[in-house]
Amino acid sequence: MSTRTALLPKKYHDAVVRWRETFLPDFDYLLDNWDKHFPKEPRFELCAYREMGMCSEVECGDLQGKPKPTRAADLPEEAAHHLYGAIRAQASTEFGSIQQHRLTLSRAQDEQEQIWILRMMAEELRHGYQMLHLLSEDEDWAALSGHTTSDAIEDILSMTTGSHLLSAFNIDFDSFVDNVTFCALIDRVGKYQLAMQKVSAYQPMAESMPQMLREEAFHLAAGVVPMRRWATEAAKGEVYVSMEMMQKAVNKWLPRGLEMFGDERGGGTNVRLGLKPMKNAEAQQQYYDEVVKLVKDVDMRYVRARLPELSMPEAKDVVERVLAGDVVRGIKPEDLIRVPAMDFFRRRGVPAFRMMGVDGESFDELDDYLRHLRGQLPESYLAGVDFRDFVHALRQVDGGELTVADAVSQMPQLRRVAGSCPCSKSVRWVVDDPAHVSGGLSQPPSP
């Protein structure tokens, strides 16, 4: 298979470059140090890549076997609307992730870890660019959506943390541990989405995925490898990143990752329309199983560093016994990382606003549950807006003032925000959703 490159029309390309100058100011540093850290590797290029020679027939769903449309107008209307939402959501996550990473990038203690994240950010920018290219290249999207291409691109580039489509991209990072854990857990969800979109019934979307997947493979490593290294250092008594810090970061991000798959009961429409090969629950379970493996590997790294005289099978036995609750050769359960239960700290999907603990235990009393959460989540996150908004909604659900469905709708989601977009010369103000607002623009919740 071969790949061809394409650029956005100049005004949109320039808009992305201006966006990059605001939100990725270290981009030039990346290019200046490219050869030092990535010798002989192709230099980063801001462009769209389209894989040639891919399957040209619909691979799943009601239209399986039929030629894949190359224009949005040739898609069934329902599929086109689903896909338009998916492209916007994908673009939003890519730009949103850069906005999250940038504020704590400078806090990295290790130069290599930092440059890996910086490269990842540049590639996420390219992924966002790829999605904008899909919207601009096919003129049918404007007619189908009722928004001009210019409006659609401006809308996406105007989003800031707090307004992105998926709630994981509306949560601020508190330290570089978040940068790394986000790569390990949230980029992992991205990998699933990209892999599922690779069989999209819309040929341009399918052709966009292979290069994004190749780049995403490194992004996951940029999360997993530092976690493994930190576990080793923690085992040797180093004072920087502890296993407890990583545990709390996993507790913070895994629930958001699980929710990115959508409601556990859903996904059938995307399968029927040929846009994805798997329903939400199946994809979510596979993702969870991967996280279990990831965490087990990190725990093994810890045990082997702490007890280097052990063989691999002996270390595996120690991990299993400690996770089961034993203290083995001085290693306590709290020294290792555990994967939270799937229902823990959830605010979307089937378990939304259930008071479920990190080990799957159920809480009857709100105050007991909040005390439990305080012990399981990073301190800096507890002091933030996102946690405050969640607790506020949970209190209302517990008090019968709000249904779960209404509480779910209050959680961070798409809203158009005011701001000057790099691709227009004017400030654009839009009406906010009159429901509760958060993300830096919020009013304190009513008592």
């Binding site: 071969s2 490194f218 490593a221 290294r229 691999m312």
Partner: protein
């Protein structure tokens, strides 16, 4: 690219970052040395360069072999696009199932897809097992010879 085969179900798939632990374990079984740092660096390098170009073999969900490589051109006077097999290992307990051969087949299919017209590797002449493996795949000694100078 994945493939399933024969009496023992051997699945060949691209390596990912979650395979690092298994690769470390196989390497330790072969060489007796625990080297997680080495494989973390190597795996990350290959995932950056060409994540589809390095493969692992799975039997019953367990990784039992790996082969890491990539397509390169323009080095050592070789202008032709060349696939390189750089690292390989098969769990000693899983030998006899043609795992190395299946991995090599997968790598060569990928190299062809990337436009490679030949595939190369470097073999330590003191490793008869590795040499006979590549002989069995049809590799031949090359006129391009490795030279070394200690600094």
């Amino acid at each position: 690219m994945t493939s399933d085969a024969t009496a023992t179900e051997v699945k060949i798939r691209p390596m990912d970052e979650l395979d690092i632990g298994d690769i470390v374990a196989i390497d330790e079984k072969i060489g007796g040395e625990y080297r997680p740092d080495v494989w973390e660096s190597r795996a990350t390098y290959y995932l950056r360069r060409d994540p589809d170009g390095s493969l692992v073999a799975e039997v019953d969900g367990e990784v039992v072999g790996f082969m890491l490589g990539e397509v390169r051109s323009g080095e050592f006077g070789l202008d032709e696009t060349t696939g390189w097999i750089d690292q390989l290992g098969v769990d000693p307990e899983a030998r006899g199932q043609a795992i190395g051969r299946r991995l090599a087949a997968g790598m060569m299919e990928h190299f062809r897809g990337r436009g490679a017209t030949s595939v190369r590797t470097l073999v330590d002449e003191e490793r008869d097992d590795v040499r006979s493996f590549f002989d069995s795949l049809g590799f031949e000694p090359s006129t391009l010879r490795p030279f070394v100078k200690k600094l």
